[in-house]
């Protein structure tokens, strides 16, 4: 899942981007509403963190530019309940007022994304593998499996769309941020690593329809 953070203050922006990446999300950060509007034209984000106080306007004004599936967390100015209510009424999934722990932002973002893509609020079960998309953990028979952040991101996207075939272009777009080297294709190696890690439990199949499909084994 790929998320855009729009935040005025460079130190806060760095912190938010860092913590969201630590939760296995692909994250881009921009500082102005204009820059955000530009990237939103090109990238189909799954979520966004919009700050209401930007140098060139209100982050809430970017909401209509996001796709209907994107989960939005709005960061309001200090201690303003009215702004929080406004954000929710405008269609944001969640509203936060500083000060808050960076982890809280990440947890709320993950939860909002999961609410947008899953009908059930509990973890996804695929055979013996349980993927807790909101808490960002993967367990096999109750034992935690440690993966890299990129692997988690790729598996999360495949699992989120487990009922359909997911094209490789879509995976590259949703699981890598703007730092990706456009002259290389990092996807096959990540798929292979996932296949090796879950060799006994999951099958990540390349279908003749031109995309990947994840299925439980056995």
């Amino acid at each position: 899942m790929r998320v855009l953070v729009v935040e005025d203050d460079p130190a806060t922006l760095r912190l938010h981007v860092k913590v969201l990446r630590a939760y296995g999300l692909a994250v881009d950060g921009v500082r102005t509403a204009r820059a955000a509007a530009e990237v939103l034209q090109d990238v189909p984000y799954d979520g966004a963190v919009l700050s209401r106080r930007l140098a060139d306007g209100d982050g809430l004004a970017l909401l209509p530019r996001l796709g209907p599936e994107a989960a939005v967390v709005v960061v309001t100015e200090r201690g303003d309940a009215e702004q929080r209510r406004e954000g929710l009424e405008a269609g944001a999934d969640d509203c936060l007022t500083p000060p808050f722990a960076p982890d809280e932002l990440a947890l709320r973002m993950c939860k909002a994304i999961v609410r947008r893509t899953e009908t059930s609020s509990s973890p996804v079960r695929m055979g013996r593998v349980v993927i807790d998309r909101a808490r960002r953990t993967i367990t096999v028979d109750g034992e935690t499996v440690h993966t890299t952040k990129t692997e988690l991101c790729v598996l999360d996207h495949l699992v989120a769309h487990r009922h359909r075939v997911v094209g490789s272009e879509e995976l590259l777009e949703h699981c890598w941020d703007s730092r990706r080297d456009l002259f290389s294709n990092p996807l096959p190696s990540q798929i292979n690593r996932l296949r090796a890690r879950f060799a006994d439990h999951l099958r990540i199949r390349w279908t003749d329809k031109g995309g990947y499909l994840v299925e439980p084994l056995g």
């Binding site: 309940a81 944001a92 722990a101 939860k111 947008r116 899953e118 609020s121 272009e169 329809k209 995309g211």
Partner: protein
């Protein structure tokens, strides 16, 4: 991807429900001495809400505000009473955490049952650590007491009205139906044998039937590395696509621009008008080419 359209009816049988004042049960059968849990909502289309709040005044305030916003509210005072009411059968649970450390167990229980119940925790203890713990254990929202009623109502509404929308709808074009989730096209009910490239071309054209799609866009969708490709590459693929669709859909070439998809026998009038308009504009922009064509 699974879509959730409406909450599934838990009981099919019809019975008369006597709806009391806010916070009371509809009258129903008693089981195991527990107060009867409502077998189905008072009004089937309203989201069902369980409010767990020990303070009587607050409970009444929450319940009336949430009911006024169009929720079917059931309010209880204790976690034990909430448990008896089977919290996992509700759409959303608002839990005031005053009883101490133990009440987050209710959140764990709801999370484990695997339903689609959302949980909002309201708490006097809302340090950063408390919030992170509450959210990690499965709460969808964690609010610090005192919480303004308009905000609480807005947050609950956000959770109960948000529905999953991740599945792409099938595209219907006369005899052809394109299942975007499975990346297949059906003609008269039978699957059409398409290569991934042909499918991409079809779906790109079909998303806007009657509109000219530029060759550049088709190359971008069908061939990921398209920079060096000439639009002539498209021709054999479009030809094979036409053949596979056996005349049910016409893929017309607009010279110098791209392709346009038209449903044979049932072209949308608006689509045609748009094509005419587009072609007109193209000719205006490139008169020389239009003349030679």
């Amino acid at each position: 991807m699974a879509t959730l359209v409406a909450p599934p009816p838990s009981r099919i049988d019809v019975r008369i429900v006597v709806s009391g004042p806010i916070g009371s049960w509809p009258i129903g059968p008693q089981a195991d001495g527990f107060p009867a849990a409502p077998a189905h909502p008072v009004h089937p289309s309203l989201p069902r809400l369980l409010v767990v709040e020990p303070d009587a005044d607050l409970r009444a305030a929450y319940a009336s505000a949430l009911a006024a916003d169009g929720h079917d509210v059931h309010a209880v005072a204790t976690v034990a009473a909430a448990r008896a009411a089977r919290p996992a059968t509700f759409d959303c649970v608002v839990l005031d955490r005053v009883g101490g450390g133990d009440d987050l167990v209710l959140v764990d229980e709801i999370y484990r049952t695997g339903g689609r119940t959302r949980v909002v925790v309201v708490s006097g203890q809302a340090s950063d650590a408390d919030r992170v713990e509450g959210l990690t254990r499965g709460a969808d929202d964690y609010l610090a007491q005192p919480v303004g009623l308009p905000e609480l109502v807005a947050r609950v509404r956000r959770l109960t009205r948000c529905r999953v929308t991740s599945s792409a709808p099938p595209i219907r074009l006369g005899r052809v139906v394109i299942d975007q989730d499975r990346r297949v096209a059906h003609l008269d009910g039978g699957e059409v044998d398409l290569t991934p490239t042909q499918y991409e071309l079809l779906v790109t054209l079909a998303r806007e039937p009657g509109c000219i799609v530029h060759s550049r866009l088709l190359l971008e969708r069908g061939w990921h590395d398209h920079r060096d490709l000439d639009s002539a590459v498209l021709r054999p693929h479009v030809a094979r696509l036409r053949k596979a669709l056996r005349g049910s859909i016409e893929v017309r070439c607009v010279r110098g621009v791209g392709y346009v998809l038209e449903v044979v026998g049932a072209t949308v009038a608006a689509g045609r008008a748009r094509v005419a308009d587009e072609v007109g504009r193209m000719e205006l922009r490139t008169p020389a080419r239009a003349k030679t064509a």
